[in-house]
Symmetry: C2
Subunit: 254 residues, 2 copies
């Protein structure tokens, strides 16, 4: 199966880091974005940028840092944006709608597909987003988590939010599945018949409720979603059991 492609509309979704203090976090955020198919990074007043530390932590995502747009105000980063999501974990006395990444993402994906520009806005590591920054956004997004210890760092928050976005693109992991042919109902039944015969051949049913036992075994093998290849292996095993059993019969008859 061919590797799927990253959908083109993800270009319409940018990550905006407002006043990040630690260059390492900028690098880690770039790496997190790229793993989830995003490429456009905006930096509002970064304390230190560019920096070797950011490059190191970006790993294979240095290209995102090279193309990052550095601006002086959040307003500049959002000028052509229609939906800006403020990522926040604090209770805010604001009536902007608050939702989780999972609730928000379908709308973001739909708008990006339609060609609108969408922004995910993350605040400073220590102070988060200021009230002024939040008011420039039209959505509040809160990642659900442990109410007693909500200490997601900046790059982790970027990772979770972009993972959520990517999971709504429809690009799945099928291409990583091993190719394996499921057995058909007839093949499973053929195997169960063979098993039944073998159990009879070796005298396993003596003094036992054979019908009930076979029903249990049939349920087990139906649940297991047998593959064609596994049936071949199991039937080879049964054949060998029958061969040994019949050799025994021969000996006894001698």
């Amino acid at each position: 199966m061919k590797k799927p492609e990253v959908p083109d509309f993800l270009k319409n979704i940018r990550v905006v880091l407002a006043r990040p203090s630690h260059p390492g976090n900028i690098g880690s955020a770039a790496r997190a974005m790229k793993t989830m198919g995003l490429s456009r990074l905006y930096l509002v007043e970064p304390k230190t940028f560019p920096s070797p530390e950011a490059d190191t932590l970006a790993s294979g995502a240095v290209d995102l840092l090279q193309h990052a747009v550095v601006v002086n105000t959040l307003a500049e980063a959002l000028s052509d944006v229609t939906v800006a999501c403020a990522l926040t974990s604090r209770r805010r006395e604001l009536t902007t709608p608050l939702s989780t990444p999972r609730q928000t993402t379908p709308e973001l994906v739909a708008r990006a597909r339609d060609g609108e520009q969408v922004a995910l806005v993350f605040g400073n590591e220590t102070f988060g987003l200021s009230i002024d920054e939040v008011e420039q956004c039209n959505r509040l997004v809160t990642i659900p988590g442990n109410p007693e210890y909500f200490s997601l760092n900046l790059a982790m928050a970027v990772q979770v939010m972009t993972y959520e976005l990517f999971s709504h693109t429809g690009v799945d992991v099928d291409y990583l599945r091993a190719e394996a042919e499921s057995a058909t109902r007839d093949e499973v039944e053929g195997f169960c018949g063979h098993l039944d015969q073998t159990l009879a051949d070796i005298g396993y049913y003596e003094r036992r409720n054979g019908e009930r036992l076979m029903r249990r075994l049939r349920t087990l093998f139906n649940r297991a979603h047998l593959l064609r290849e596994e049936i071949d292996i199991l039937r080879g095993f049964l054949k060998q059991v029958q061969r040994v059993a019949h050799r025994d019969d021969g000996r006894r008859q001698q």
Copy 2:
């Protein structure tokens, strides 16, 4: 609204790090776990543990490191486990079922709720899980992402997987919502009537299709999900407009 509690059954879900090389990753993984309400960490043959670097990166999650169970083999970490998920991003020639975190999680949550022990197994930072380690698990889990750059680091993978788990616990972010009372249909209608009257008062409808304009405005205000408080502000504004308009009328009549 009261803070919700972390559900007790999350105690039945452990994170197992197999042969982690970098103590910093152990600390970051512990922090990621705690943000998502998990507490039980197993370490199989960690290269360096305990270590000050792990403690630093764990931040407020040092308690997880203090209670971490260090074992020599993956088998020990899994002995009482019924479902062990191997987190992997490589194509494997294995017929173990492969699924995404979102597909797998409902089953994991259901089993943990029933008291079964569940494990999330993560491999070494460089080599991932060995074939032998994967074979000790009964699920393969792959985080979906950019097929051309899938470079999620260890702690990021722990964060995404535990976020996915937490999102299925039903603990939401409602307690962070600002308290705000939505306006009822009657209140919105009352405001629209006031607006209509005001527009008439100030002569805005002259030479315009008033009915059509009012329909557009009504649609806008219905879509906006007005709050009671916002209606109060808007009606205060309309009253002032009417006052000014009538003062004008008065002047003209003088």
